[in-house]
C-alpha cells in the first residue's frame, strides 16, 4: 500500500503532562470503506486525528498515510482532506476562505465553485462565515476537504450540528466517497449517529483500542434481549429464578438474557405473576457499543 491511501496508526501514544490521552493505539483504515472512529467524549479521538495530521507531536509511535507522515506528504491537500473543528475567520466569505486555501495549496481556483456546488452552498458563497450556523460551517469544512480531490478523508464529528436533512445528505455523501474507492475515516461519540453510513468501526475508550471490525460483527455481539416488568417485582424475580433465566434489574423492569419474549412470558405464567410489560429490547447495537466502552473504562 505505497499509494498513501491507507491510514496506519502504530503504537501511538500521546501524553499531556501526567494525562495519557492516547495509549499505545494500533489500527489501520482501508480504502473503499467508511470507517467509524468511535468512543465517548474525551476518549482520545481528536488527539489521535490531530497527531495523524501533524498538528500534534506523538509521545511515542507513528501515525502515517501508507508509511508517510502528514508533514512529508508532497501535496497534502491533494492527498488528504481533513475537517477538524470547522473554524474560520468570521469576517471572510465562504468563497474567499476556499480561495485562500486553494492558493496556499496550489490548487486551481476553479475548484472553489465546484466544491461549493458539491456541498450545496453555492448561494451562500458570498456571505461572511460569521453569520453561518454550525451546520453551514460543517458543510464549508467539508467543501475545504474536497478542494484537492483527495483519496483520503478524515472528518472529526462531521455530523455535529447538522439538521436532519443535513444528516441524511452527509450519510449519502460519505457512502459515495467510499464507493469511489476513497478512504473515509469519520469520528463520532455516538454509534447511532454513524451506524447507517459506516462499514467498519474502530472503538476506543480512555485512549485505548477496545474493538475493531465490521459493523456487522458488532451486531452479532448485540444479542437481543427481553424486557419484562410486573407490579410485583419480587414475585417476578422469583419466577425468573425458577425458570433459570439470567436477568438484571433496570428502570423499566428486568432485562432478561433471552431473545424470545414468549419464553419469558411463559415463565411468568408458570409463576402466576401479573405482567405490566413484555417486549424485545431492540437497540442492541448501541448497547453493545456502550458495553464495550464501559469495559475499556473499567480496565483503567
Amino acid at each position: 500500500m505505497g499509494d498513501g491511501t491507507t491510514i496506519e496508526i502504530t503504537g501511538l501514544t500521546k501524553r499531556f503532562g501526567a494525562v495519557t490521552a492516547v495509549d499505545d493505539l494500533t489500527f489501520t483504515v482501508e480504502p473503499g470503506r467508511v470507517t467509524g472512529f468511535l468512543g465517548p467524549n474525551g476518549a482520545g479521538k481528536t488527539t489521535t486525528l490531530r497527531t495523524l495530521l501533524g498538528l500534534e507531536r506523538p509521545t511515542a509511535g507513528t501515525a502515517t498515510f501508507g508509511g508517510t507522515v502528514y508533514r512529508d506528504l508532497e501535496r497534502p491537500l491533494e492527498t488528504v482532506g481533513a475537517a477538524l473543528d470547522a473554524a474560520f475567520h468570521p469576517g471572510r466569505t465562504a468563497r474567499d476562505h476556499l480561495r485562500v486555501t486553494a492558493t496556499a495549496a496550489g490548487i486551481r481556483s476553479s475548484r472553489v465553485d465546484e466544491v461549493l456546488e458539491q456541498v450545496g452552498m453555492s448561494e451562500f458563497a458570498g456571505r461572511r462565515v460569521g453569520g453561518f450556523s454550525l451546520g453551514m460551517r460543517q458543510r464549508l469544512a467539508l467543501a475545504t476537504t474536497l478542494l484537492g480531490d483527495p483519496r483520503v478523508l478524515v472528518l472529526d464529528e462531521p455530523i455535529n450540528g447538522l439538521d436532519p436533512e443535513g444528516i441524511r445528505w452527509i450519510r449519502g455523501f460519505l457512502r459515495s466517497l467510499a464507493a469511489d474507492g476513497r478512504t473515509v475515516l469519520v469520528s463520532s461519540h455516538l454509534l447511532s449517529e454513524v451506524q447507517q453510513s459506516v462499514d467498519e468501526v474502530v472503538i476506543i475508550s480512555r485512549g485505548r483500542l477496545v474493538r475493531t471490525g465490521t459493523l456487522s460483527s458488532l451486531e452479532l455481539d448485540a444479542s437481543p434481549r427481553t424486557v419484562v416488568d410486573s407490579p410485583d417485582r419480587t414475585r417476578l424475580a422469583a419466577a425468573l429464578d425458577q425458570a433459570g433465566l439470567d436477568y438484571a434489574e433496570g428502570r423499566s423492569g428486568f432485562i432478561v438474557s433471552e431473545p424470545d419474549p414468549g419464553v419469558v412470558g411463559h415463565a411468568a405464567f408458570v409463576g402466576g405473576v401479573e405482567l405490566s410489560s413484555l417486549h424485545r429490547l431492540k437497540s442492541g447495537l448501541e448497547e453493545s457499543f456502550l458495553a464495550l466502552v464501559d469495559e475499556g473504562a473499567g480496565a483503567e
Binding site: E56, Y70, P76, H89, R92, T103
Partner: protein, 276 residues
C-alpha cells in the same frame, strides 16, 4: 516556490478581511490631522510671532529647525503603530479564530507559513508607508504653502526622507509579525502594542534624554531607531536635551534586528507547539 505561494496566500488573507482598510483609514485620518493641523499652527506662529509668544509663552519651534521634514515624518513617527498592529494581527488572528489548523493542514511546513507572513507584512507595511507619507506630504505641504513657507517638495532630501520612512513602515510590519509569534494571545498583543508605542516608549524617550548615559541607551529604543532611520521627528524637537540619534542605517538595522529576532524566537517557541 512554496515560499512565494505562502507570501501570496498571506496577502490574500489580509485583503479578504476588513481590518487592513479600517486601519488604513484611521492612519490617513490621524496623519492628516497631525501633519496638516500642526503645519497650520506652526505656519500661523511663524507669521505672527508676537501673538504666538503671548499665547504659548515662546515660539513653538526652535530656530533653525526645518518645518517640512518634521511635518512629513508624522506618517512614520505616529503612524508606525498601524503596520505593527496589522502584522501582529496576521499571526494572532490565526490563534484566536483557530484557523491555524487549516493553515497548517494546507502548508505543514510551519516555517514557510511564518516566512510568508514576515515578507507579506513587510510589503503591507510599505504600502501603509506610501499611504501615510502621501497623506503627510499632501496635508503638510498644503499647510506650509498656505503660509508661504518652504514646502521642501523640490528638495531631494525630502524625497529621501519619504523613501526611508516607507522602509521604516515596512520594517514595523515585520516587527508586528515577530510580536504576534511571541505573544499569540490577540488581546495581549494589542495591549502591548498600544501601551508600548503610545505610553511607555514616549515616556522612556523623554526621560532618557535627561542624562547622557541613558540617552545613549534611549536612542536604541525602537521608536527612536525608527525616527533615526527616517531622519526627522517631532520627538527630536520635543525632547529636552539634544541627544545624538543613531545614523539612519543604524536605525534601520535596529528595526530589522528586532523584527528578525522576535520572529525567529516566536517561530521556535509558540509557533512549534501542538495545535489543539
Amino acid at each position: 516556490m512554496s515560499i512565494l505561494r505562502s507570501v501570496g496566500t498571506e496577502f490574500q488573507k489580509v485583503l479578504t478581511t476588513r481590518m487592513w482598510w479600517l486601519l488604513a483609514i484611521v492612519l490617513v485620518g490621524y496623519v492628516a490631522l497631525m501633519s496638516g493641523g500642526f503645519g497650520a499652527f506652526l505656519g500661523w506662529a511663524a507669521e505672527n510671532p508676537d501673538a504666538a509668544a503671548s499665547a504659548g509663552g515662546s515660539t513653538a519651534i526652535p530656530p533653525g529647525v526645518e518645518l517640512a521634514p518634521l511635518l512629513y515624518s508624522f506618517a512614520s513617527s505616529i503612524g508606525y503603530v498601524f503596520p505593527v498592529l496589522l502584522g501582529a494581527l496576521a499571526v494572532t488572528t490565526e490563534f484566536r479564530h483557530r484557523t491555524l489548523t487549516t493553515t497548517f493542514l494546507t502548508e505543514p511546513r510551519r516555517t514557510t507559513v511564518l516566512a510568508g507572513k514576515f515578507v507579506s507584512q513587510l510589503v503591507v507595511g510599505a504600502a501603509f508607508g506610501v499611504m501615510g507619507f502621501a497623506t503627510s506630504v499632501a496635508a503638510g505641504a498644503a499647510a506650509l504653502a498656505a503660509f508661504d513657507l518652504d514646502t521642501g517638495l523640490d528638495s531631494s532630501d525630502t524625497w529621501a526622507l519619504v523613501g526611508r520612512g516607507i522602509l521604516a513602515m515596512a520594517l514595523w510590519g515585520a516587527i508586528g509579525v515577530g510580536l504576534g509569534a511571541l505573544v499569540p494571545n490577540q488581546v495581549a498583543a494589542i495591549v502591548i502594542v498600544i501601551a508600548f508605542t503610545q505610553f511607555f516608549e514616549p515616556v522612556l524617550r523623554l526621560v532618557s534624554t535627561l542624562n547622557d548615559v541613558t540617552a545613549s541607551i534611549g536612542r536604541f529604543l525602537p521608536g527612536a531607531a525608527s525616527d533615526a532611520l527616517v531622519g526627522a521627528s517631532f520627538y527630536s524637537v520635543a525632547s529636552l536635551g539634544a541627544a545624538d540619534s543613531l545614523e539612519w542605517w543604524q536605525g534601520g538595522l535596529v528595526l530589522l534586528g528586532i523584527a528578525v529576532v522576535t520572529t525567529v524566537v516566536g517561530g521556535a517557541t509558540t509557533w512549534r507547539r501542538d495545535v489543539s
